[in-house]
Every structure is written in structure tokens, then in C-alpha cells.
Symmetry: C2
Subunit: 398 residues, 2 copies
Amino acid sequence: MSSTSYSDAHSNTLRSTFTIGILGAGQLARMSALEAFRYGFRVASYSDRTMDEPLQWMTPLNCTGSFHDVEAMVKFASLCDVLTLENEFIDSEVLREVVERSGKPLFPGADTFASIENKRIEKETFQDHGIPVVPFKVVSAIEDFTWFGETYGWPFLLKSSKGGYDGYGNRVVNNYAEALKAFKSLGGDNGHEILAEAFIEFERELAVQVARNSTGSEVYPCCETIQTNQICTAVLCPAPIDVSIQQKAQDLALKAMEVIHGVGLFAFEFFLTKDGQLLLNESAPRPHNSGHYTIEACITSQFENHIRAVAGLPLGSASLRVPSAVMINLLGVHNRETLTEYALDSMQYKDAHLHLYGKKSSRIGRKMGHLTLLSHDASERVEELYHRALSLANQIEI
Amino acid sequence: MSSTSYSDAHSNTLRSTFTIGILGAGQLARMSALEAFRYGFRVASYSDRTMDEPLQWMTPLNCTGSFHDVEAMVKFASLCDVLTLENEFIDSEVLREVVERSGKPLFPGADTFASIENKRIEKETFQDHGIPVVPFKVVSAIEDFTWFGETYGWPFLLKSSKGGYDGYGNRVVNNYAEALKAFKSLGGDNGHEILAEAFIEFERELAVQVARNSTGSEVYPCCETIQTNQICTAVLCPAPIDVSIQQKAQDLALKAMEVIHGVGLFAFEFFLTKDGQLLLNESAPRPHNSGHYTIEACITSQFENHIRAVAGLPLGSASLRVPSAVMINLLGVHNRETLTEYALDSMQYKDAHLHLYGKKSSRIGRKMGHLTLLSHDASERVEELYHRALSLANQIEI
């Protein structure tokens, strides 16, 4: 792990001038910053978007520039004591150069990013270490589509190796003609690496967050993520499945974190297949939508442990402090300047917690905020809590 | 209440461009801002101190200027949708002028500040409405000292009517000679109004926070505050006293809040006398050190309800989510650039929550942060929890 040369934990001190530089300025950066501020730290933001991003209203230390501009990022790094990222879309070679030239540590490190840099490398990394992943293959020719379809069945998925989130850049293909068309539209003809991935008839989708640095690691509970149109719309914690499967997902997530020498807060997403298998679907090297429920439901939130991890501090307990919790994403239903309507009922509902990200404009389907509802009744099923949470969240219009 | 002409609750909307202007930039402003950010709001700060105050690292919207400079504050107000204050030391006439000229609402309102503007007016306001206060008298002549000493006993306290916190500006006087000396040193000869106050042999000091706006009010639990050298060093919640006395303190606090038409979050401090009487000692028209424990221990923290109250939103539940909680203030033990040493044990202790305020320098006795410890065991006495919390906090050096 590259963190051993740098850790405040080793000197048992916290400096109030300690500045965490976040490459990004969206809601994940914003919620991380809230926790950094609790420790008296400063937060600086580097973004390729100009003023009006969620984090940019929360610090005087804002830089804007391209994520390809090494020079500008080195200059930004000189303001900071440590760097971290809000998303995984910066080239690992760029990151490596920024770290080398600035002399400032980056967590997660460039090596970690390199090991999960694109979907193929990510899957190979995990598969090589015995972590079951969704069957996949790099495809480029007609025979590949045919072989994949015959081996894993139609339909299957075609994905661009690089980029893509919330389902962007994924195509479900039912036959050879669709595969060919999708291959082209994903840029396969222009040299983009395209992966075929088996279409898993899963029972549920699960997620586990893991925090880790040189002081140790903390594994969060296993939650279920509900996806609608390939966007996460809700998270139920704990996942309503057998405890032994929850435990197995947690074990796999920790193993995956160790395989890639992850430092920071990562989320690991799994398919639970109809025959009870767990397959690692994706990893996210940062606080993740699936972990927003931890803000109120866990003793230490994913964002707090992210900050602790990158600052080299000991991690806090990831235990649930309530029997169960449900988070509902608040997606934009209008294209307009942001206005949150009919949210007041949820503000008065006991132990419902509204979060709004301060985005200037709402767009249909855009993540504008979330609502977390905690249960206090161990006999209430998490599915019942989900329905209570939905009925609150569904009133809200953004 | 002056808020009826202004409230987002009436339109059932939250705007993400909504900007809360805080007159102040210290730790109370910082912790309030953290909650404002959760609702996607923006926070602007006006301070008479230049860059390096806790809140100034948390927003790009910083103004500096004197708290006597109406012009500058009106200009600041023009950036904001609503104004609030971190402390009670701004002249209510200045506030009234800023509100009138800017057209921006201020919560709490200038009338509320006027009704508690100095210690004499505050006591008269509450006493006139049947809330028991510590016996007091404006003193100016030799006969006054003698009469007060003979009526309420020696020693008694002399206080400047205006200003003073954490014991600054208070003198305990044991006899006539000391009273004369203290009167002079407090500026009594130069026209400052001086109060004599009975010295109460109290059993405990208690505090209750109340949030209130046009949508309703929420009363926090009754806690005990521990003072050392007239500075609050710890808070125990609930106060280890009979529930009926807790309830009485909560009732008096709510009544006091209503008497002064308070909008926002206020703290009311009481003496519990040896014969079981409750006397209102002080009110603070803002989030208060006695309520820091609410961040983790209550469903809605004092800071969140402060933000809700001033934004005209419905208030959240003030209920405890754990059997008990203790907060310990972390006071500076060095005069130096801030460095927090030996805090890591507390970071790893289950459900201990460290907060550091990001002050550039520590000074001996300065409030630099706090540590809150939650109990999960209803059979643990709050005094035991206090000792566990102390043993953690005492390791920390700032």
C-alpha cells in the first residue's frame, strides 16, 4: 500500500490547516466535505465545471480546469496536503504524473485506479484473485458475438470498456443484428474496446462499502440496491436476504478491496443469482450512492470514513445504529432551476432525513437529493420500511 | 411573531439558491452551516475578523466588516435571503436598521434581541412573565451594596449589564470593599450599568434548548451543564435529576421562548437550587454549547433546527435517539498553531464523536472542539458515561 510513507495516524496528530483536495465538485464531494469540516480540515475542489457545482458553494478554495491538464492539477495539488477523487474517470497516467510532480499523496492511489481502470481490467483483476465476476469477453468480430451468445445465451450485454455509469454506454442485445448495431454505436469500429457480458437473471442486486487505509479496514453492512432504468432509485439495509449471504458479500467486498490495495472508501456491487451465487458486478473507488444511508444509519458514515481513510486516520465503526434503514434517491422530475416542492411532510416525519445537493438546475432523472428513513422497530421488515419511505419520497417534486 | 410575512413553509418549497447569511464566523456558525448545506442551501458569512475563522473556510461568500457598520451589513444582506446571528453582541438598533434598509428578514428578530438586550432587561422581561429568575438589582451607590448584601447575603455577584460571557465581566464580592472595587473595575464609575445578583448555592446547572418558528416549536431534553472556572466543560443528557424537574425546566424554557417571541434556536440556562427551585439564569438566542450533544444524540440537532427555524421550515423531532449522551469541551492547553494530539483513541472508541472547529490557533482555555459519547445501555448512569467520556477527552491535547 502506498500510504505507509504518509499518515497522520503515525504521529497521532490532526492539523487544522490540513487541506483535502477533491478532484470533483458534485454531491459526493459535497457530502465528503461535510465530514472533513467536522474534523476542522479544509477542503479544496478542482473541477472542470465552473462555479455552481455543489461543493463550490462550500469552500473558498475552488480551482477549475480540465482533468487532462496536468499542469493545472499540479498547481491545485500544491494547495493541498492530500488528494482524493469524486469519480473514476480521470486517466490513471494523468493521476500518476500529478502525484509525481506535486509530491502530494493521492488516495486511492494511481496503482489502484490502474487495476480497475476499465471494465475489462477490473474484471480480470478480480477474477485472477478468485472473486467471481459476471462472465465476460472482449469482442471484436462476428464469431465473438456468436460464440458469446451460444455460450452464455441471448440476450447479453455489450459495454464500452471505459467510461459509462448509471447504465450509459451499456446495450442489451437480443441477437446478432442487434449486437452488430450496438457494437458500432459504442464505437467498436473506431477502436474502442467492447466487452460482452452475460445477462444475469439476478434475484437481487447487493452492495457493500469498505473503508480501508494503513490503520485497518471497516466493512459496512450488506444492502440491497433497487435499480429502475439502470439508475439506483433505492437502497434497503440490511438486504432482506439470509445473513450468511450478507456475510459472504461482505467477505468478498473486503477481499476485493485488498486485492486492489484500495485506500479510501469503495463500494462493491454484486448480483445475487437465482441459484444463490454472488457475482461481483462493479466496483466504485469512492463514496457511492449505495452508501448514502450510512449518514444517519451507521455509527460512522461512508463519507466520514472516506475522509478518515484519506487523511490517514483510524477508521470508525461501520455498524448500523438502528435495525434497518432505507434510502430513496430524489431524481429530478422537471427541467428547471432547482426548486424542491412538497418536501415538508418528509421533514416532519420522525427520523426521515432529507438531503438536497444544492444543484443549480434540475433535469428529469438527475440525482438532486435523497431521503433516508430509519426504523426503530426490529420487527418491521425492511420492505415495509421501504414502502413507508417511498410514500414520503413520492410526494417530493424537484 | 415577525416571521409570518416570510416563510418558505407556506409555499412548501425549498430553493437551492436560498442563501442564509450568518453574522459571525465562529464554531457555532460553522456547525449551523453544516446543516444548511445538507438542505442544499448556500451560506454567507459576515465577520469582523479577517480570513481564518472557522466558517470562512467553508464558503466562498465571505464578507468582513465592523458590526457597527450598517452600510456594510446592508450590502451583505443583499446577498442573502435571510439573516441570522452567531452571538448576541450586536446592538439591536443596528440590527433593526439593517433589516429595514435591506428588506431582508432576520431571525431571531430585532424585537427579540431588544427584549433580552442586556442582563437587566432580560431578567425583567422574564420576571414580568412569571418566570423565576435569580434575584437582582441595578446598583449604583454605597447603600445599594449594603442593602443587597443584607437582603440576599454576602457574597453576591456584580455584573456589567451588557456584554460578558463565560464568566468574563462577572465579579464575586464578599464585602463592601470588594463590591466598591469590582464596581469600579466593571466601569460603574463611567456610566456602565452594573447589576448585583444573588449568589445562588445551586445543586446543579441545567440547560434546555428550544427551537421555534411560525410552524411550531420543539423542546430539547433537559441537560446538566458542568462549569469549571465559569466555562462550560461538559454536558450530561438527560440531567441526572428527577423527571418532574426536567419537565419543569422544559416547560419554563418553552414559556421563556414564547415570552420573547423567539424564532430560531435558543438555549435557556437554569440553576437548580438546593431546595429544588428552578431559576432562569441566562438565555442565549442561538445554538449553544450546551446543545452540541444534540448533533449525534437527538433525531434533529440544535443546528439543524436552527437552520430549519430561520428558513421558515417545519422543525424536526428533538427527541434523544439513545438513552444518554455526554459532551466534553476540548479546551486549548497550548498557545500555538492548532495541532490536535492524542485524539486517535477517541476516534476508535465506539460511538465517540470528535469535532474540531478548524481554528488557526489554540490558546489556553479556548474552545477548540468537543467530544460527544453516546451510551447504548439504558442501565448505565449518565455520571458513569461522563467518566468514560472524560477519560477519553483528557487524553487529547490541543
